[in-house]
């Protein structure tokens, strides 16, 4: 499959058309969607109109943009006008947003063609897509295994050669973990770099939209297209989109990279070997490796599983049968709300709503939520101390390779899969997962590069070094 950069170049030069690329994407999707359950909804008519408009602009001699005619898959927690947006929940079944997320407008402005909405764990709560109300997505590399989550559908769309790029969202690892399990590149940008307007909120202080792709360059092109200040998101950083593409081939010569014990210890041997292989490749490319221990990161999981549910319990209060989607009748308004929420939410969402409600309730607020917010401060301080010594950090993305369906039936065991990705979200910093090496059954392993806020350009440069070292030019 061609990269997004190649497709855009071919469309712009007239070697192919946006319509032909779109048709090819739908052929690829339909060949495997019944088996893999990647897409929940396809917007064939709308996409065709966008593609035709791009072809008309190319014919008129216009420069369409960096993603000219590139089909892209969209996680189904991003609003697109008139297109069903479910968050993989029965509570939003049938609801069609009356507005576009900012990222959709920016994608279309850059020439991309959104083809449809991808499956996720309900309201992005999960690490396997097994929590989708519309059935799990299967990993294209091994359909007996999960693709990761929560952005499993968007990762599978790229890994399964349906689209070259896609968008996901990452609250505690939901882009990086599925990227690792599917053998692709997944970037969780700095908090506020990409507008969250139109992203249906899970945990507002942690959520961030980001790109999936096969190549580091495609990731940089896509992120550059969607990033930058948006007045519709009050937490949006006050600056324009950074220059990323021009730094992808900067290399790592002279960079100081911290190998963090707490970001690989306890992982499978094959994963640790991959991290060490990546470290050797970076050293070979001129980086200086510094071994670090940041024990505070171990507390991240506990803090996250109180902060994220607390914010979720508040954000998901809006789904009460009044304004969106499902309503189950009741004798009065309270009975209607209870009946609607009981029928509309799945078990994991109920669990997190209750955990969050408990953590915020009188008598427990200070002990749980308040303490978690202080651990968040502790995490930020610990990262800052590390970044005073080194330019970036390296570790594993996940403790193991993609697991089989049903392998983690206990919630706490599932949550532990996020142990290496969560600290970044608490700090609001960027991190990228890049495929490096193989583990059991020849399944891919993700190596994670982490940096301070606004360091995406350096992370991409290091990820590019690893991509080349792993044999992908």
């Amino acid at each position: 499959m061609k990269t997004a950069v190649e497709i855009a170049n071919d469309v712009q030069t007239g070697a192919t058309t946006a319509v032909a690329q779109l048709d090819a994407a739908y052929v690829a999707i339909e060949a495997r969607n019944a088996e893999l359950n990647v897409f929940l909804h396809l917007d064939k008519e709308g996409a065709r109109k966008i593609a035709q408009a791009i072809d008309a602009r190319v014919a008129a001699g216009e420069n369409v943009g960096p993603l000219a005619g590139v089909p892209i898959a969209i996680k189904d927690n991003l609003c697109q006008t008139g297109i069903p947006t479910t968050c993989s929940s029965k509570i939003l079944e049938g609801w069609k947003p009356p507005y576009n997320a900012t990222v959709i407008d920016r994608l279309v402005a850059a020439g991309a063609v959104p083809v449809g909405k991808t499956n996720l764990d309900e309201f992005a709560m999960g690490s396997s897509t097994e929590n989708s109300a519309f059935g799990p997505t299967r990993n294209p590399l091994d359909p007996s295994r999960v693709p990761g989550g929560s952005s499993g559908g968007s990762a599978a769309a790229v890994a399964g050669d349906m689209t070259s790029i896609s968008l996901g969202s990452d609250t505690g690892g939901s882009i990086r973990q599925p990227a690792a399990f599917c053998g692709i590149v997944g970037m969780k940008p700095t908090y506020g770099l990409v507008s969250r307007y139109g992203l249906i909120a899970f945990a507002s202080s942690l959520d961030q939209i980001g790109p999936f792709s096969k190549t580091v360059m495609d990731s940089a092109v896509l992120l550059e297209a969607i990033a930058g200040h948006d007045p519709l998101d009050s937490t949006s950083l006050p600056e324009p989109s950074p220059s990323l593409v021009s730094h992808v081939n900067d290399g790592v010569a002279g960079k100081r990279i911290g190998l963090v014990k707490e970001l690989y210890e306890g992982a499978d041997e094959s994963v640790i070997n991959a991290v060490m292989g990546a470290v050797a490749a970076l050293k070979e490319a001129g980086a200086q490796i510094v071994e670090l221990s940041i024990p505070e990161l171990r507390l991240g999981l506990s803090a996250y599983y109180l902060i994220a549910p607390a914010e979720a319990s508040s954000n998901l209060a809006r789904f009460d049968g009044v304004r969106f989607g499902l309503r189950v009748d009741g004798e009065d308004v309270t009975a209607m709300m209870e009946a609607t929420r009981t029928a509309g939410f799945g078990a994991e969402v109920k669990r997190r709503i209750m955990l969050g409600t408990y953590a915020l309730s009188a008598g427990y607020y200070d002990a749980y939520y308040g303490q978690a917010l202080k651990v968040r401060t502790l995490t930020i301080n610990a990262f800052q101390k590390a970044y005073a010594q080194v330019d970036m950090l390296i570790g594993a993305t996940t403790p193991g390779v993609a697991f089989k369906f049903g392998a983690k039936s206990d919630p706490m065991e599932m949550y532990l899969n996020d142990v290496f990705t969560i600290p970044t979200n608490l700090a609001g910093d960027p991190a990228v997962s890049v495929s490096f090496g193989k583990g059991e059954e020849n399944l891919p392993i993700g190596v994670q590069l982490l940096g301070p806020g606004r360091s995406e350009a350096s992370l991409y440069a290091a990820a590019r070094v690893l991509e080349i070292a792993d044999g992908r030019s």
Binding site: T235, F345, A347, Y358, Q371, L373, K374, P411, M412, G428
Partner: protein
């Protein structure tokens, strides 16, 4: 150690969150939620009294804008997606004891 959460706690929280649980769900959730809270004990044993809590990683506060008219959603388009609407408003079952 004893479970930090009782069945009654979970039942009370479910009521606050407007969720109805079956007896079986109550049992399952009590065990699972206790597991998560027990894991959080690693955090609760620390003295963090010297630290300020963080709710936004970059400390953004009071983001304001000019008070100008700005594009907004079309009322009819929004109401068309609601479960029930009447006279340009969202409609809900009766809230007070007696219907007017």
């Amino acid at each position: 150690m004893s479970s930090p959460l009782s069945r009654d706690d979970v039942a009370k929280v479910a009521k606050l969150a407007r969720l109805r649980l079956t007896e079986e769900e109550l049992t399952t959730f009590t065990g699972q939620l206790s597991g998560v809270l027990e894991h959080a004990n690693d955090m609760n044993s620390l003295d963090l009294s010297a630290l300020e809590p963080t709710s936004n990683p970059f400390g953004l506060t009071n983001v304001t804008r000019e008070d100008v008219i700005w594009k907004s959603l079309d009322r009819d388009a929004v109401l068309a997606e609601a479960p029930d609407a009447q006279d340009g408003r969202f409609a809900v079952p009766r809230i007070l004891g007696e219907a007017p």
